[in-house]
């Protein structure tokens, strides 16, 4: 019991299972195969973006710009494919590079000019969307390419393609954060930047890289978004940054930096989307949905905050061998 409460992975998982259980009970269609792959589709964009948010948060920063970056990148993508006639695979690579470029702007301002990331990325939140509106006279670009939709709506062995992307991306990200120098170093700079510098880590470069990674994650999100909607629009992605951050935080990432777990972020994203799905299936009005989602974020984080103490209480009752 104590182990479960203290384990970093199981707490968010338990929270999600609880949410899923409640939804399944109250909602007849929740466990339909169709709805489950529906869930996978719905979670995919925010889950991909949340990889970037988690990396930035672990590195001690925050990124409020991916929603706007996605707006800008879907526009760039749609224009490249539809008006400039650039082949889809090439356009995908270019969009990822563009996303890295946007991330590099945030990273440069934060890491090298030492402007707090909340500020740089709030500015970017405003500026990126502004730039998005400068393309195509501010109008969305519709019906980009019929092949585009397949990227999102296609299936393989009966399962939606985005599920494969998620599994692949999360595996890579989890592996990178756990088993590479880069990942470990990002935990270190988020935990104590001064100590990291004194341990020979290139703190600025690492912090820069976290934002670069977030930019790439936003670009991948933009590609999925453009594929889902077969269009680019300066209005896409509003508020997405908050869902992505909420996913990371529900998954136990701390805004103080140095703490967080990629896999838990996926569970966090799934929790948010499951709640929304359940509420939609029950036709709960958006106004009430907003209140409920707000409450769930608070409770999820609360459980994480209180977990240690709950564990402590139980620990006091059952002395642990390990601590002498």
């Amino acid at each position: 019991m104590k182990a479960i409460l203290k384990s970093p992975v199981l707490a968010p998982l338990a929270a999600w299972l609880l949410v899923a259980l409640v939804t399944a009970i109250t909602t007849p269609h929740f466990l339909d195969a169709g709805n489950l792959s529906n869930l996978a589709l719905q979670v995919s964009i925010v889950a991909v973006v949340a990889i970037g948010s988690t990396v930035v948060i672990i590195g001690g920063g925050i990124d409020l710009s991916p929603g706007s970056a996605i707006a800008l990148l879907t526009m760039v993508f749609a224009i490249m494919v539809k008006f400039a006639g650039i082949p889809l695979p090439v356009a995908i690579v270019l969009v990822i590079l563009a996303g890295a470029g946007l991330g590099a702007i945030n990273g440069f301002l934060t890491a090298y000019l030492r402007i707090p990331s909340f500020i740089t990325t709030v500015a970017a939140l405003s500026a990126f969307r502004g730039v998005a509106f400068m393309f195509n006279n501010g109008s969305p670009v519709f019906s980009v390419d019929p092949n585009l939709e397949t990227i999102f709506y296609g299936t393989l062995f009966g399962l939606p393609l985005p599920l494969y992307y998620l599994v692949a991306l999360y595996t890579v990200a989890w592996f990178a954060m756990r088993y590479t120098r880069l990942g470990r170093s990002i935990y270190a700079i988020g935990g104590n930047a001064a100590a990291a510098m004194l341990s020979g880590l290139k703190v600025k470069r690492l912090q820069f890289l976290t934002f670069l990674i977030a930019g790439v994650a936003a670009a991948l999100g933009a590609i999925l978004m453009a594929a889902r909607l077969n269009s680019g629009s300066p209005n896409y992605g509003v508020g997405l940054e908050l869902s992505a951050i909420a996913a990371a935080v529900i998954g136990g990432a701390s805004l103080v930096g140095g703490r967080g777990n990629i896999v838990n972020t996926a569970i966090g994203a799934l929790t948010i989307v499951t709640v929304q799905n359940g509420l939609n299936l029950n036709a709960v009005p958006t106004s009430a949905q907003n209140v409920i989602i707000g409450a769930i974020i608070v409770i999820a984080v609360g459980i994480d905050m209180w977990r240690v103490e709950l564990g402590g209480v139980i620990g006091a009752l059952m002395p642990n061998r390990k601590n002498k």
Binding site: G34, I45, S139, P140, L229, N235, Y236, V238, G239, L240
Partner: protein, 322 residues
């Protein structure tokens, strides 16, 4: 059907679904899915739908994201609604292309899809019906009204646009088309008011400040012109003409009170009633498909009273009896 509506005009062939695949199973459940709850206009359409549904004894529910910018959210909701096997979806979206794959799936599953508040005859994938008014014709008529009303008087025009997109382009375009060729009209500035009262107020204040010679403000919706009206009043510019679009009840009351000059009354409540009727007729095999154009009228102080005196066809209800 009970509510009368004009005869449908045919849609492009590729845009028309086969209505005969539909049937009424006797237990009709309809989803009304506007792009956002933040625009009262869609609530008014929804109230019209609800009123007509109640009269016909069918069930409707509304599901929409809060923000009109949340296209992704709306797509998620459409997916969720398709999962539930409703009989019909009355849909309005800011992004037809995005909705297309989902609409196609709904149509395949035998769900009736009726697009509301649209004048796009060329929907990217087949649908059963389109119900709405012509955005461009509405504001063009408003410009015609204006040209007639001011005669040769010289007018300096300030334009308050919405956020860039189809609706803003069409409405502003219709208005500009209407005044084109009349040299006494000069557009001195065009700024965005973000569709809301707050933005309209700021835009109005800044426009009137930077161009004290403005005699006429046109805004792409009623909320923005109401915000601008407050700005004009605060600056003592009581003789500036103020024009909007929609026929929001509050704007009609402002017209009656003399604070706003005129608007394009697009009767959203009635549009909703018609949309529901069309949907039921389609399920019952009494509607063969096509675009149903709903009525619009340029409404000013002279003809606003009869509208306000018929609160049953308005949402929200007027704040007092007229």
């Amino acid at each position: 059907g009970a509510a009368d509506y004009p005869a449908a005009q045919p849609l492009a062939e590729s845009a028309q679904a086969d209505v005969s695949r539909l049937s009424n199973d006797g237990d009709v459940r309809i989803a009304y899915m506007p792009p956002a709850t933040e625009f009262n206009y869609y609530i008014a359409i929804g109230e019209g739908i609800k009123a007509e549904a109640a009269a016909n004894g069918v069930e409707v529910f509304m599901l929409a994201p809060q923000s009109g910018a949340d296209i992704n959210g709306q797509m998620g909701m459409i997916q969720d609604v398709i999962t539930q096997n409703v009989d019909a979806i009355i849909l309005s979206t800011h992004d037809e292309a995005a909705a297309a794959p989902l609409v196609a799936r709904a149509v395949d599953q035998g769900i009736a899809v009726v697009i509301v508040n649209s004048d796009i005859a060329q929907f990217p994938t087949p649908v059963d019906a389109v119900v709405g008014y012509s955005q461009r014709n509405g504001t063009h008529a408003l410009a015609d009204y204006l040209v007639e009303r001011v005669g040769d008087e010289s007018e300096k025009v300030g334009v308050i646009e919405g956020q860039p997109g189809y609706h803003s382009t069409e409405r502003v375009g219709g208005f500009l088309d209407g005044i084109e060729g009349h040299d006494n009209f000069e557009v001195v500035a065009s700024v965005s008011g973000g569709w809301n009262v707050e933005g309209g107020n700021t835009a109005g204040m800044d426009l009137l400040q930077a161009h004290p010679d403005i005699t006429l403000l046109f805004a792409a919706n009623d909320y923005m012109i109401m915000g601008a009206a407050l700005a004009a009043k605060a600056l003592g510019k009581t003789d500036v003409m103020l024009l909007g679009n929609d026929g929001d009840t509050a704007a009609l009351e402002e017209i009656a009170a003399g604070n706003v000059t005129a608007t394009v009354n697009t009767s959203p409540f009635i549009m909703g009633q018609i949309a529901l009727q069309v949907t039921l007729d389609a399920l019952n095999g009494a509607f063969a498909g096509g675009f149903v154009e709903t009525p619009t009228t340029v409404t000013d102080k002279d003809n606003v009273l009869p509208v306000l005196q018929n609160p049953d066809a308005l949402y929200p209800k007027p704040s007092k009896a007229y």
